[in-house]
């Protein structure tokens, strides 16, 4: 898989995980909620980083 394809794939994967987590969050017990939000924040930051990498790649 080409690098760009891998970036697309990882963005898609992380976005999907974020969506699933966001759907689960309202039902989460309070004691696990903070951990989940921290993981979601990490995923969001990864997406931002990957989008930066995409911007840096030469345009087709």
């Amino acid at each position: 898989m080409a690098d760009t394809e891998k970036i697309y794939h990882t963005i898609k994967s992380k976005a999907v995980n974020l969506k699933a987590a966001a759907e689960q969050l309202p039902k989460y017990p309070p004691e696990r909620r903070d951990k989940m939000i921290a993981l979601m924040r990490e995923a969001a930051q990864d997406i931002i980083r990957l989008l930066g990498e995409l911007e840096a790649t030469p345009k087709p």
Binding site: K6, N17, A21, K35, A43
Partner: protein, 448 residues
Amino acid sequence: MDKLKILVIEDDSLAREVMANNLAGQAVDFATDKAAAERKLKAGHYDICFIDLLLGENDDYSGLKLIPLAVSKGIYSVVMSSCDTEETIGRAYALGCKEFYVKGNEEANVSAIIARYLQGDGGKKAQAVFSGGFITNDPATRALVTEALKYAATNLPLLILGPSGTGKTTLAELLHEHSGRDGNFVAMNCSAYTEDLLESELFGYKRGAFTGAHENRRGKLAQADKGTLFLDEIGAMSQNMQVKLLKAIEEKSFYPLGADKPEYSDFRVISATLEDVQKLLAENRLRFDFFQRVHGMTITLKPLAQRKCDIFPLMQAFTKGTKRLAFELEAKDYVLAHSWPGNTRELKRFVGLVAAGTQGAVTLETVRKHITPAATPPAAAPEGVTQAYYEYALKHGLAAAVDRFTAGIINHNLSENRGKKAAALAQLKISKRLLYATLAKARTPEGE
């Protein structure tokens, strides 16, 4: 039900957290990279393995390479990926994975996968269900329960219909056991409470909420957190209570009596009634919105009279670990001929009585003693046939019962006509031969 042993091979920490939540109730293990996955697959004994294809940002489908190992260990292998090209899907299936799903709808996908796994487990689990959890040999009932089990691992509400004693609570418990939910199975018969009592039982109360509330008490909704709330006889609930419960079901939160803060409970609802739901709705005893919220999938259980093949297997189950029963042929026939209007509840009582009072094989006399005619509904016997005649036919044979019936009619007629045989011949339209043969038999003592 034993917990399923599941290995999730996933490098993303958020995805692992999501899966942990989706697989709550099962024994879940995680591997975050290929090496750890190989170690765990070789050492562990898993039922199901969820495999992410790309393990790390620079990975080259190492998940695919794990499929043959998982398959060789007899593990039900499921690939989950955001990479859903035809080529990848084809390769995964060629390597032996059972299912491939695209990430994005985990909650529904995971539940469905577990249900399919349980169904397809060589029939072993299904067999275990029908010989233990819900005893039935009736093909239609088996199909119904199997269908219901597909929904066990979802959060969809279920409504179980059927007469009293057909196994509604047993089925609800079975569905809870297969739901993968960690919490308790909490059953409640709504018809057993007054409205006030039902409210405090369901929602609980705080100390001082009413006279006699000396301490805080958790209600059934709280007790069923992460579990299943089974509401039997929902038709007995007042409209007011249905509104309150509907709100609690939809919001997963409620106010215990006397509380100023809501409490939260993640419960799944299974409800049941022996009444005709359409009639309950038509009579406004069941609110339409409440019904819509609780009826999800509807399962109608047949009475025992329509699945007589279950009578003896159920008896065996009721006497498991205690005295086993063997029935003489006539006794067996009598048991099968009975309509069991009280269904399994009546059968259980009968088995208890027979087991306690029998030495050796169970005779017809013992069976007749414990199946009282009062327990037989009038509709069970065809018009004109009394229970006494029916029992006589069972004991002495149909020909003897017909003779007895004939003699009864003739004697009654002779008595009305002061013994005039000509009147009997004319009114009953019978031959002289039959009249005299019947009278001769009546003069001969029984047994000669």
